[in-house]
């Protein structure tokens, strides 16, 4: 696997941190998370009833959807103190979007921990027309922006939170290989 493709370790708290924020795009917390520890906050995504917010809570919060969680995240991080450790668990696009909010707030790689959960599902960047394509599960993706059939590469950009897509039949137009399922 090429060196730009992230490799994830299982979720675990970094004991050198003074406070911990764990977020996930799932309704349930990650395994191995001991909520009894006083300095941990946990955020999840769960629909209680359509549009209805969960009751406000200090350390365990539930959001109606990921965009709501990310808006709150930006605000929270802008007021947090150094010593915080930030953990994101979920789909690959989710955790890297969370990571980029973290770097925007001043966090460095050593203060953030990402763990991927769920089936392989890539966001792909078409380098020809710059369109982002979500939910890619195969090795060839058709770009909705310019119509190219893209080879889904393993070269990954953390900043764009996406894999590189390059026209697969550029040299011999029309010669498109059969797609295969992505294994990761």
């Amino acid at each position: 696997m090429i060196k730009s493709r992230p490799v994830y370790r299982p979720f675990a708290l970094d004991v050198t941190g003074r406070a911990h924020l764990v977020i996930t795009d799932q309704p349930q917390p990650p395994e191995a998370l001991d909520l009894a520890l006083a300095n941990i906050s946990l955020w999840t995504v769960k629909t209680i009833a359509p549009g209805v917010p969960a009751p406000a809570a200090e350390r365990c919060r539930t959001f109606r959807a990921v965009p709501e969680m990310f808006a709150f995240l930006s605000h929270y991080l802008s007021r947090a103190s150094i010593g915080l450790r930030f953990y994101a668990v979920g789909s690959e696009p989710f955790i890297w979007d969370a990571y980029n909010i973290g770097t925007g707030a001043g966090l460095t790689a050593a203060e953030m921990f990402l763990a991927q959960s769920g089936p392989p599902c890539r966001r792909v960047y078409c380098c020809h027309c710059k369109t982002m394509i979500d939910d890619v599960k195969e090795t060839i993706a058709v770009c909705p922006g310019c119509g190219s059939s893209l080879q889904v590469r393993d070269h990954f950009s953390r900043r764009l939170a996406a894999f590189m897509g390059v026209k697969v039949d550029a040299e011999t137009p029309g010669n498109i290989p059969l797609p295969e399922l992505l294994s990761s």
Binding site: I2, K3, S4, R5, T108, A109, A110, Y125, C127, H128, K130, S148, R153, H155, F156, S157, R158, R159, L160, M164, V166, K167, A170, E171, T172, P173
Partner: protein
């Protein structure tokens, strides 16, 4: 330094660019032996070497006007070929200072730089630029500082921020690249942006290179050579425009390989910048058609043997799978089997 400029020739469409005899003889041929494998191969960037192309801090040649014109076209079509992240603003001024001072020193007939405190006056005769500005005040320049000066120098440039024992490519003027995307790679660490290079990671070449570069000293730039092959003397072989140049690769035939297929050599320089402590990576590309290259006997023999015996993974990575055999057949006719000497020098004073 002696600099004779040609009027602009083209690097796209009709590909009118040709190397004069002098340009062929000064070409920075990269292969000292008949075989090739990756190595760190860094050496001090000081004047002197097998070609005069190594003498200037930033080498200019007869193609200066044409290459700057080609860059301007690429930028007009895709401004995101020049990106500098805001935190590298000091690196922009470092680069402007370095390139202006180097060009004015090495090519005083073409470039003049005078300073009156922070008010600088820059004259670029070949491109007809006469610019007064205040150093440190970007509002006094028609483009941001890094873009302003790199539009006037041959070769691509990237800026690496050094932090946390690592380098991050967070700026660049990249219009003549060998198939990598600045917009995609911007923000990557050293290992991440080198990820697509096959084989090299196993041998630890990148670990050693990174450790070396983290200690790169101000005032002691270094250089190394890299190479690839290009169909047609095209500068913009970006992933973004692969749909344009990809079919040109497929159109290489035994009849046209001599005229169209080019050896592309990058003279890479690495320079520590003072205010930002960033590293400026210069990627100065040189293109030579095989039919021009084969006018140098030693280089003909060497290229034939090297391409013939190249590791298949490297051949694939350098994109030559489609025409490797065509090249070998063409070059084979120039290889009489005689031994070649070590070293890259042409050993000819005329063609």
């Amino acid at each position: 330094m002696n600099l004779i400029l040609k009027p602009a020739e083209t690097y796209r469409g009709d590909y009118s660019v040709r190397n004069s005899d002098a340009a062929i003889l000064r070409f920075p041929f990269p292969f000292p032996e008949d075989s090739y494998m990756y190595s760190v191969n860094i050496e001090p960037h000081v004047p002197g070497g097998p070609s005069v192309a190594y003498d200037a801090a930033f080498d200019l040649d007869e193609h200066y006007i044409g290459e700057c014109a080609d860059r301007a076209i690429t930028l007009a079509d895709d401004p995101m070929r020049c990106i500098v992240m805001p935190h590298l603003i000091d690196a922009e001024w470092d680069t402007l200072e370095l390139l202006m001072e180097s060009l004015a020193k090495d090519y005083p007939e073409q470039f003049v730089l005078t300073k009156d405190g922070a008010v600088w006056h820059w004259v670029n005769h070949p491109l007809g630029i006469d610019q007064k500005f205040t150093f440190g005040d970007a509002t006094t320049l028609p483009y941001p500082p890094f873009e302003f000066i790199t539009r006037q120098v041959q070769g691509d440039f990237t800026l690496q921020d050094q932090r946390d024992n690592n380098l991050f490519v967070e700026g660049g003027m990249v219009t003549a690249q060998a198939d990598w995307s600045l917009n995609f790679d911007a923000g990557m660490s050293f290992m991440e942006w080198h990820a697509p290079v096959p084989l090299a990671h196993q041998s630890g070449v990148f670990e050693r290179a990174l450790a070396y570069l983290l200690r790169l000293q101000y005032g002691k730039p270094v250089r190394r050579l890299n190479w690839t092959l290009t169909a047609n003397p095209r500068l913009d072989t970006s992933p973004e425009n692969y749909p344009i140049w990809g079919p040109e690769k497929a159109a290489i035939t035994p009849e046209n390989v001599g005229e169209r297929l080019c050896l592309r050599v990058e003279l890479q320089t690495l320079t520590r910048l003072p205010r930002s402590n960033a590293i400026l990576f210069g990627i100065r590309g040189y293109l030579i058609r095989l039919e021009e290259l084969t006018r140098v006997k030693k280089w003909s023999r060497r290229m034939h043997r090297l391409i013939r015996d190249l590791h298949p993974d490297i051949a694939t990575y350098k994109g030559m799978s489609g025409y490797r055999q065509t090249i070998i057949d063409y070059l084979g006719s120039f290889d009489d089997g005689a031994p070649t000497s070590s070293g890259t020098a042409s050993e000819q004073t005329s063609l």
